[in-house]
């Protein structure tokens, strides 16, 4: 028995066609559409805590955290990359070799309080809070606009801890993420308990069946019954096999490195499965204690985190390229803010939102190695500032979404980005 409501409409996580019908140009007819890219997928790395750009993608002169007084500057030496004139920290040696597939946007800036939650929310939603609505995360917007690539899988997945900033906001729960906290556990809700094998599933369904049949088809409980059938499919091998990393060769698993690398490998598998947007959290905080929020002593082992990022990012770029997926898959390395070149009293770094780096790779963009110029203290922007809405607009444009289109919050039109303009140089 099927419900007369098309089952797909009812159950799918995100439906591109229906969503696009709602998207209208913002503030009247657009005079000229920005050039749009052809990327199909997005993998967003989240470096919670605030990645220190001077120690990673925007290196400056070497500082000294331990002298009295400390001398501001990078904590590590920098090296040349595949793009002449573009340098990165020595701990990004593998990424440096594929820098021609990467653009570090060095002039991202926001003028909000340098507070984790507020900035995390801003970088995810592109907007500040108002209390009159809840803005959706970029993952939810992309999911709502484009739906899953394969309708049999969710459009938006998260490998990390659920939070508000990653949520669907006014777009509603069906545009939210399906999450797993790490590669050892499957997606919450879809992974069956260990003591429930397929025989037990069959037994349970046989018991469930008569209770389901008490409701006529075309009733609200029958709609729920259809959702149960869809859940059952997603808990089955057809979907769950994507999470089984043992199907990858030992050498590729090794190439990706530690847990974060394995999450990236899983992301590639999810891309292949047809997931549209994957956010991957780099929260392996035990490596240096503080994670990317490298105040005080967190600075001392920061290179451990950077190296893990380097291994995973370069492996993902290479692997996607080998699979002919790099041009179709935009990789974003995002964080809530950067950190100043000056050191704090414990030899670590505070927060700095006024100038920091975010990274784009693959996705069919015209990569430059780096975009935008900052001063010697990485404090002032000298050329090509990029706002958070601009950065979002660039991601949307790369994914073929016109960033000026409108979403609907009830009757209220809300443009996809708050006046963001894509970085033209990367798209033309």
């Amino acid at each position: 028995m099927t419900s007369p409501l098309a089952r797909r409409d009812l159950l799918k996580f995100s439906l591109a066609a229906a969503a696009n019908a709602l998207a209208r140009p913002a503030w009247g007819e657009p005079s000229n559409t920005p050039p749009l890219g052809k990327a199909e997928h997005c993998i967003l790395f989240w470096l919670g805590g605030g990645m220190a750009q001077v120690d990673t993608f925007d290196p400056k002169r070497l500082g000294d955290a331990h002298s009295k007084p400390s001398r501001s500057g990078s904590y590590y030496n920098s090296i040349e990359t595949a793009v002449p004139g573009v340098r990165v920290t020595e701990h990004l040696a593998q990424t440096a070799k594929v820098m021609d597939r990467v653009t570090v946007v060095r002039t991202v800036n926001h003028r909000v309080v340098d507070e984790h939650a507020f900035a995390t929310n801003l970088v995810h939603t592109g907007r500040t809070i108002s209390g009159s609505t809840v803005y959706p995360s970029i993952g939810s917007i992309v999911a709502q606009q484009r739906g899953p690539v394969d309708p049999a899988v969710p459009a938006y997945m998260l490998i990390g801890i659920p939070n508000v900033s990653r949520g669907p906001g006014f777009l509603g729960a069906k545009h939210g993420f399906v999450y797993l906290t790490d590669t050892n556990s499957g997606p919450a809700g879809f992974s069956r308990p260990i003591d429930v094998d397929s025989q037990r599933v069959a037994n349970r369904l046989a018991l469930l069946e008569p209770t389901q049949q008490r409701f006529p088809s075309d009733s609200l409980p029958a709609d729920y019954r259809s959702a149960q059938a869809e859940a059952l499919r997603l808990s089955g091998p057809e979907f769950m096999r994507h999470f089984d990393l043992t199907q990858e060769s030992g050498s590729i698993r090794q190439r990706y490195g530690g847990e974060f690398g394995q999450r990236c490998l899983l992301s590639r598998r999810l891309v292949q499965a047809g997931v549209r947007f994957i956010e991957v959290s780099h929260n392996l905080n035990f490596i240096n204690g503080t994670g990317w929020d490298s105040h005080r002593s967190g600075q001392q082992q920061l290179h451990g985190l950077i190296q893990e990022l380097d291994t995973a990012l370069s492996a993902l770029i290479e692997d996607l390229e080998r699979q002919k997926l790099l041009d179709k898959t935009l990789i974003v390395v995002a964080t809530e803010f950067g950190r100043p070149a000056a050191f704090d009293d414990g030899g670590g770094r505070g927060h700095q939102g006024s100038t920091f780096s975010l990274v784009l790779a693959g996705g069919g963009l015209r990569h430059q190695g780096a975009y935008g110029v900052t001063d010697d203290d990485c404090k002032e922007i000298l050329e090509n500032p990029v706002s958070i809405p601009d950065f979002h607009a660039t991601i949307h444009a790369a994914l073929g979404i016109d960033p000026r289109h409108e979403l609907r919050d009830g009757a209220r039109p809300v443009s996809i980005t708050d006046g963001g303009i894509p970085i033209a140089k990367l798209l033309s």
Binding site: I129, S165, G172, Y224, R296
Partner: protein
């Protein structure tokens, strides 16, 4: 060796009796707990003079883990000075010998025996800071042997020896609650504050008590002890609130009289005489029957081959036209959201005439002229859509008031269904088997009315109503730093108001006055909006939507495009709430450059330029005239007092009607006006009933329970469900199968299974080292509404709360929002695959479907009974009904295999490892050991509790499968 009997609830009874007998005096068998608020400074030193107590209560032993909230004003939670000092005193009979004494406290504490200091703990260091301090605090607490209760939250522990020849000893245990970091206060809490004793030559730790019964200091006995403590404090707190409310009787008694005179002075609503043949139980049914008959008559010419307005035309108008053509500011002065106005037409004259093919409407929807075509933007109407409009007009443009979803009313719901519905609607969980049996056996003709009264008196009533208020008022506390539009935890004020059935006018008055402790749960917390550019504009919008049905959301940045309300009105009410003028920042406006469109006038207007200064002023003279205020305001100079009075005065009929509409919808599935928060958009389906309900609310002293009683007793409420209805019937001919809320589902799953609702405390500062402004403790939830957002936007495994996360995952999938950045008046109840998935496979459901020793169905399944009876009882207990014949056959067959031998004669319990839980909280969460410890905790939550060894494993698995299947049936999610 002394006689230690396991602790029983009896000790609390004993204490209560003792207290009754000697009120005010310290009974010998109890411990007097005094709270001292003055005479202390922020120097982290013991005062030279013993500070004077301002409050006291009694407990059975030298053990507390909480002190009552401080109540101020008229019974709301206030702020205690931090630090305060708590003093426990009593006289204990010691046996002779050398004893070991343990003290445990969060910060400084000292134990004095017969006037001599025996042992003390230090002041907690001032280092709430960044979470990486490796201070004296241990990740692993002290271990004093098997059975010993580990310090749960990093409390300081000290041991001393005490030798006596026996006899009474005066015991004084003083502890600091709270403290300061510089000038900033910490929460005034005590943590687990205990004096325990291991009597000579003995390894058994007991709570030190003056009473005759020892209480072992083990995890299990402590859990009973603190349950008792919590219950006795809850009673004490209720009494305190009631006493404080008496203080403002001189204001509220005249207010009640004023309401009575207003009722007397204004005309009553005539209750219609219903047409014959309709069931009538309360006057509500007269209104319902009358309206039904009228609409049925309007729909009499309906036929399947004719265009039907609600089936064919209305969806088209809604999706393509009404966005612009609605409300007071409809484009071209033409409204398509009201029949009468649509027939009247707009600036271009009448849009159509019934039965006349040629019309302005048809001309515009078929026009290609860019200045004339409709809709002006987007896709044109399809030819099929145009044909629908054309035929509809030609056939007479029939536009009945409401659709007729059913040709008759359904009969009354059966008794079992009624009780399940009633309980889900009043207390939020289904009946127990005992309740169900009692109700079914009740033969009194008025048993439904009797049970309605019984449930209205049930304290769980407050639990069930919390979500509505939390959603509506955007209660949004964050356990870590207030950030994304967070409020204070005013949930405690809401809960206590609902629990006490505080009249709504009084409750809203307290809300508007925003007094009490903003971080302690007082209504002041409503006024908070962290990181918001104009907090009081956000609050003004909440207030006007929730209590006046005026949606001012748009007015935050511009005038409402459709409604009659302007930006200035929002800022005026915001200024009243703020009790000062408000300035409009540029972030709360729309850049005029963005409003430039091609040719047409913009939909929205900005009438309040950034930088405008808006004075406090009542913006709704339409609803209440400021002149009626004079007798109702205590202090006319106080903006909040004025706002409260204007909102809640009986003369403001809108207020009572909007609240009555919320209550009505809560039970009936839809409001008489929808949307409930935006009356400009909605047409009342039963305008006379609405007025009547509003007046009844006033007549009942603005008490929710009084109006609820009227609704619950109506035939309209008690009708059987029509399983084929897909929406709530606006004529109430039958209820539809209505999805339960996330909270109802989760609470019901725990309630019917009997699995304890056991999670971590909702707190990331378990040792109270952070300051109040940055960390709050929301306690250990016992109902779903008590959860809050677990998200701290920091992505740190060491800050995870995995058991709470497992519950939150289910709630979230079912439509709950942990973070309520904006108010919400309805939840998304549509199905998606994650909902059944999380109920089938999720961690919380694994706990609920595994027969562990503490599971309510373990004993149930072992009971001596035929297998058929077990099956019947499972269905009765979980679904409040007996199984259908096919269900009975299948489940009986499934459970028969191994049924006779299911009981394990000598269950073998593995000796639980005596391993201290690792203590992780903010102060140590960045230490390298914390993340791996947190990972272990996550894994443990996912594993759940071990299955009971009392049931043979194969049959247990069968039984768990049966429980799984019943709990996963769609029926668990729907209201009967």
């Amino acid at each position: 060796m002394s006689c230690v009997i396991p602790f029983r609830r009896g000790i609390w009874l004993l204490l209560c009796l003792a207290s009754l007998a000697r009120e005010g005096a310290v009974a010998r068998a109890e411990v007097r707990v005094e709270i001292c608020e003055s005479g202390l400074d922020d120097k982290d030193a013991w005062p030279e003079m013993a500070p004077v107590a301002t409050e006291f209560f009694s407990v059975p032993a030298f053990a507390i883990d909480q002190i009552p909230p401080k109540y101020v004003d008229d019974g709301i939670r206030g702020t205690r000075p931090s630090p305060s000092l708590v003093r426990l005193t009593g006289t204990v009979d010691f046996p002779s010998g050398k004893h070991r004494i343990l003290i445990r406290a969060r910060s400084a504490a000292r134990l004095t025996l017969n006037g001599t200091l025996l042992v003390e703990t230090p002041f907690a260091p001032k280092n709430g800071g960044d979470g990486s301090q490796a201070d004296t605090e241990r990740l692993v607490p002290l271990d004093l042997g098997r059975g010993y209760r580990f310090a749960p939250n990093g409390e300081y522990e000290r041991i001393a020896e005490f030798e006596t020849t026996g006899g009474p000893v005066d015991v004084k245990f003083e502890v600091f609650a709270g403290g300061r970091e510089g000038k900033t206060p910490r929460r005034v809490e005590v943590g687990e504050t205990v004096v325990a004793i291991a009597k000579s030559e003995n390894d058994v730790w007991e709570l030190l008590t003056p009473g005759p019964h020892g209480v072992r200091y083990t995890d299990a006995d402590w859990a009973h002890y603190r349950d008792g403590l919590e219950k006795s404090l809850a009673e004490r707190n209720a009494a305190t609130r009631a006493r404080l409310r008496e203080n403002s009787a001189d204001y509220w008694t005249p207010r009640r009289k004023e309401a009575e005179s207003w009722l007397a002075a204004t005309p009553e609503v005539t209750v219609p005489v219903p047409p014959a043949g309709f069931p009538i139980q309360t006057p509500i049914d007269n209104f319902i029957a009358d309206r039904y008959a009228t609409v049925k008559n309007q729909n009499r010419q309906r036929s399947p081959d004719k265009i039907d307005f609600f089936r064919d035309v209305s969806p088209l108008l809604e999706s393509r036209c009404v966005d612009c053509h609605r409300g007071a500011n409809a484009k071209g002065g033409f409204r398509l959201d009201r029949a009468e106005a649509a027939r009247r037409g707009g600036e271009s004259g009448p849009a159509f005439q019934a039965g006349v093919a040629e019309s302005e409407l048809m001309r515009r929807v078929t026009s290609h002229d860019p200045g004339e075509k409709m809709p002006p933007k987007g896709e044109r109407l399809t030819s099929a859509e145009i044909l629908v409009l054309d035929r509809w007009i030609s056939e007479g443009a029939s536009w009945p008031d409401l659709p007729l979803l059913r040709d008759s009313f359904t009969g009354p719901v059966d008794d079992a269904g009624f009780l399940r519905r009633l309980m889900l609607d009043t207390v939020g969980v289904p009946p127990t088997m005992g309740e169900l049996g009692e109700f079914l056996a009740d033969t009194r003709p008025d048993k439904r009315a009797t049970w309605i009264d019984r449930l209205l008196d049930d304290p769980r009533w407050a639990d069930h109503w919390m979500p509505l208020w939390q959603d509506m008022l955007a209660e949004n506390p964050n356990i870590l730093n207030p950030t994304l539009n967070n409020t204070g935890p005013f949930r405690w004020w809401l809960y206590e108001s609902l629990r006490d059935d505080l009249p709504l006018d009084r409750m809203v008055t307290q809300l508007v006055l925003q007094r009490g402790g903003d971080r302690e749960g007082g209504p002041a917390g409503f006024g908070e909006a962290s990181q918001n550019d104009v907090p009081y504009a956000a609050k003004g919008a909440i207030l006007s939507a929730a209590f006046l049905g005026v949606d001012l959301k748009c007015a935050r940045c511009h005038d409402s495009p459709t409604g009659a309300f302007q930006q200035e009105q929002l800022f005026q009410i915001g200024a009243l709430l703020a009790a000062k003028p408000l300035d409009v920042p540029a972030t709360s406006s729309v850049d005029p450059a963005k409003l430039q469109t091609l040719g047409r006038t913009p939909l929205i207007r900005v009438t309040l330029a950034p930088g405008s200064h808006v004075e406090p002023k009542w913006p709704f003279p339409l609803f209440a005239n400021p002149e009626v205020l004079t007798p109702l305001v205590r202090n006319p100079e106080d903006h909040r007092e004025r706002l409260a009075a204007l909102l809640t005065a009986p003369h403001n009929e809108r207020f009572a009607q909007v609240l009555a509409n919320h209550i009505w919808r809560h039970f009936m599935g839809r409001g008489i006006v929808e949307p409930v928060e935006d009356w400009e958009q909605g047409i009342p389906t039963h305008p006379e009933l609405l007025r009547w309900l509003g007046r009844e609310l006033v007549r009942g002293g603005y008490r929710v329970k009084s109006l609820s009683r009227l609704i619950l007793n109506s035939a309209a409420y008690q009708r059987a469900v029509d399983p084929l209805l897909r929406t709530s019937d606006p004529l109430y001919a039958a209820p539809e199968p209505r999805r339960l809320s996330a909270e109802q589902i989760v609470d019901s799953l725990f309630a019917v299974s009997g699995k304890p609702f056991r999670t971590e405390a909702l707190c990331l500062d378990l040792n109270g080292r952070r300051v109040t402004s940055n960390s709050i403790d929301l306690g250990t939830p016992r109902r779903a509404w008590m959860l809050a957002s677990l998200s701290n936007e920091r992505d740190r495994p060491s800050l995870s709360l995995p058991r709470l996360q497992a519950v939150a995952d289910v709630l979230t999938a079912l439509g709950w929002r942990g973070a309520r950045q904006d108010p919400s008046f309805s939840r998304d109840a549509s199905p998606n695959a994650l909902q059944p998935a999380i109920l089938a496979n999720g961690v919380m459901m694994q706990w609920i479907t595994r027969l562990s020793d503490d599971h309510g169905l373990t004993e149930f399944a072992l009971r001596e009974q035929p297998v058929e009876t077990l099956v019947d009882n499972l269905f009765l207990r979980l679904l409040s009904r007996v199984p259908t014949p096919p269900e009975r056959t299948r489940y009986t067959q499934w459970l028969s295999d191994g049924f006779a031998t299911r009981r394990v004669a000598n269950p073998v319990y593995e000796t639980p490892a005596h391993v201290a839980p690792k203590f992780i909280t903010w102060t140590n969460h960045l230490q390298p050991e914390s993340d791996p410890a947190a990972q272990e905790r996550i894994a443990a939550a996912q594993r759940g509790d071990s299955p009971t060894p009392r049931i043979e494993p194969n049959w247990r698995a069968h039984c768990e499968d049966a429980i799984w299947a019943i709990l996963n049936s769609p029926e668990m999610l729907f209201r009967p």
